[in-house]
């Protein structure tokens, strides 16, 4: 599996584990991961620290153990707040107020993009 995709998947799995646990150390989070994502201790620790840097987890030291906890709930994670905010706005107003990484897509563009995404993953994975 290409490295980029693995990292993205593992981050999502770690977040899901954190929501189930509420709080926990590296070993507890690692045990909570599905078997195919249960990598080395240091891999899980790296992902946890990366999620702390990104603002999704908080970290605190309890005696000799570092405990991680989610900074946002699963419900907040699933809320499509930005799309809902601009649901009623015209196309021009929406674009002026929110320059998003991609514009809107139709079905043809989407299937072409999915094909291209697989090529890019292969290209990046082979480096």
């Amino acid at each position: 599996m290409p490295l980029g995709k693995l990292q993205g998947d593992l981050q999502a799995q770690v977040m899901a584990a954190m929501w189930r646990l509420g709080a926990g150390n590296v070993e507890q989070v690692r045990s909570e991961l599905p078997p195919r994502y249960r990598g080395a201790y240091t891999t899980v620790q790296t992902v946890l620290n990366r999620l702390v840097d990104r603002g999704l987890l908080a970290r605190r030291k309890l005696e000799n153990v570092v405990e991680y906890r989610p900074k946002l709930t699963e419900a907040e994670y699933l809320t499509h707040s930005i799309d809902r905010t601009l649901a009623g706005a015209s196309s021009d107003a929406r674009q002026a107020a929110l320059a998003a990484l991609i514009g809107r897509l139709d079905a043809g563009e989407l299937s072409e993009l999915q094909r291209l995404a697989r090529d890019i993953e292969r290209r990046r994975g082979s480096r």
Binding site: G4, K71, E76, H80, A96, A99, A100, L101, D106, A117
Partner: protein, 321 residues
Amino acid sequence: MSYAIAAGIATGIALPHLLRLERAPPTSAALLWFQSLALRALASLFAAVYLLVYVPSAEPFHGLAHRCLHAALPVLTEHLGLETHDVGHLATALPALLLGVSTLSVAIGIARAARSVRRLLTLNGLGPGPRGSVIVGGADVVLAAAGIRRPTVVVSAGALTALDDDELFAGLDHENGHIARRHGYVFAIAALLRGLGRPIPGARRALRELSFHLERDADRWALARHNDPSALASAICKAAGTRELEPAWLTGLASAGVMQRLDQLLDPAQSALKRARRLALNGLAVTMAVFALAVTAVLPATAAAGIEQLGTKTAPPHCES
């Protein structure tokens, strides 16, 4: 002189439609589309003022308005007691009125959308994200420069889990590019100009093309900060993969050439223009921008002089019904 200005305006409006600009330097291409929108707006405004001010004072208008409206609208002129010239004046004022309403509705829409985004960030921001961004809810991959006056990069929680480091930082730099290059202001002004220039065909395409080149400009900004082009392309693909499809009629309005951007990111050598052509396009863009500015400066003065000249003439006799 006025014919030369009119020919220049027509050229400026049509030029970006005739040139192949998809691989042109993004700033020059954006400038060419922006001046096309500005000249459209000026031409529409001038036409509206001409109808509102000059036409009613012209001799043929009195005869035409009197005869035609009496014959065509006897209900209005006889039963409702409306003067024929009142109806005629209303007809000449209508385009200006429609232009005003169109522009005002665009301005109100943009102000509302900007306020909604600001409120969302203040009330629903989930905390600070990487590189000064604000985290918002959503499992889909969203990276955006939000707001016009005080723009902020927003990143969805889904983007923070789905993207690897290279993709995330390339995407964040792309959005920071929009902010650093003041694209929010450029697009908002262009949208207002489109509201004014709506009567001249092609305004919608001009705005869509401008948006495409602003996106390319932000891509370049990100790549200039040592980001990997394929990481940015991958972030774009992931963002696209998690988006819900929009209705086809809406897609046509806002899609900003994602496939072309990806082609250019993944094959920059193929997308590069020859130096001479690049320089020629840069020169053309600057020339047309200067011309648009000059016309903007000259037209109001010309119109004011014309109105003043009309004021010195005797008022036309009011027709009798």
